[in-house]
Symmetry: C2
Subunit: 199 residues, 2 copies
DNA sequence: ACCTGAACACCGTTCAAGT
DNA sequence: ACCTGAACACCGTTCAAGT
């Protein structure tokens, strides 16, 4: 009996199923064993295609972040900053459960550094000093990651009834899941606009 | 033989040793078994004083955040925002390894909500709408958490030599650990100043 | 070449049992 | 009242063995 011509596993298939599990069950919901089971395979088999779980997560993160758009700097540095931040946030909110991983370890992924390098170069070309360019880029990332992480939707909208009595100023209406998403976006836009205007 | 009058364990002692381990070995470096060993005890014994590991981390987080200062709003809302953000960042940078936990789960800790409530109320008193107050508070938290997380020091200062060729614009000097800390602080101050000025 | 079984060194948590 | 031993249901990863 000849072996089946196509193998069961490939790095691409592993990554896409892993991302689906993360989207569904959260970052903690992904284990190599569960991933293997979803692929119809034993856990050990994964290590023929993937070096470690950490490396797998890094690869997934890179692919999620490939949607970030740094093309706006050809127009104007303010426009570039805004477009970069918006597309960054959009990419992260497509797969919110992977954000804790991004925010965790060192951001030494190649694509991230490439983008940062481009952004940095554009700011220097626009007349900022190298040091200022670094700080501006950092500030932009603060707003992007801050908004992706400490969002109201995932933050504390679980049980509005608990809050009403104890926190008189907090507006109960803002904690409803539907409103929270919109509020998250508006808060991000406000922070971004204030930051860029204040530079 | 009478039992020793003072028990080996107490919630306080558990929390303080756990925080020391986190500071030394990182968030992933804390396990209930290692914590128990550091306390001269078996892992199971911890569960007489602590409900779960997650609850333990929440309690530690609350104690770290108790240093946040929201008193500045009695002066002026801009001063209040700045003082709150600075003390928040200072508290987080005293124990940077616990920040990923804070950024992770829902921020439903009582003290956090109390502070948020006070901040919110102060902004409304200053004339902002409830919705605007919520967004401003969120934006401030974006900068605080963003700066605590995606810091350059822990971010990508590990091996400057790798970067030189590949990323022409990135300033190698900014990646040295000593400079990185200072740059982190200045980036935070720049983002904070730009944000508050831009409001 | 690709996958498996079994093992190693870990986890958080529970619970009957000891003192 | 406080701690322990042993167990349960998990982890990530390795490696000889099978096809």
């Amino acid at each position: 009996m000849p072996r089946p011509s196509t193998p069961l596993l490939s790095p691409d298939r592993i990554r896409s199923v892993a991302l689906a599990i993360i989207d569904r069950d959260g970052l903690d919901g992904l284990s190599m064993r569960k991933l293997a089971a979803s692929l119809g395979v034993q856990a050990a088999s994964l290590y023929g295609h993937v070096r470690t779980k950490d490396q797998l997560l890094n690869d997934i993160a890179s692919s999620v972040l490939s949607a970030v758009d740094v093309s706006g700097f050809s127009v104007d540095w303010r426009e570039g900053l805004i477009r970069c931040a918006r597309s960054y946030r959009a990419a992260l909110s497509t797969h919110p459960n992977i954000v804790p991983f991004l925010a965790y370890g060192p951001a030494g992924r190649d694509e991230s550094l490439q983008r940062l390098d481009l952004l940095h170069g554009a700011l220097v070309d626009a007349g900022w000093s190298r040091r200022e360019a670094t700080m501006i880029a950092a500030g932009l990332m603060y707003i992007v990651f801050g908004s992706a992480l400490s969002s109201f939707s995932s933050g504390f909208s679980s049980d509005p009834a608990d809050y009403t009595d104890r926190y008189p100023h907090l507006d109960r209406a803002h904690l409803l899941p539907g409103v929270a998403r919109e509020l998250d976006r508006d808060s991000f836009e406000l922070a971004l606009a204030a930051f860029v205007r204040g530079l």
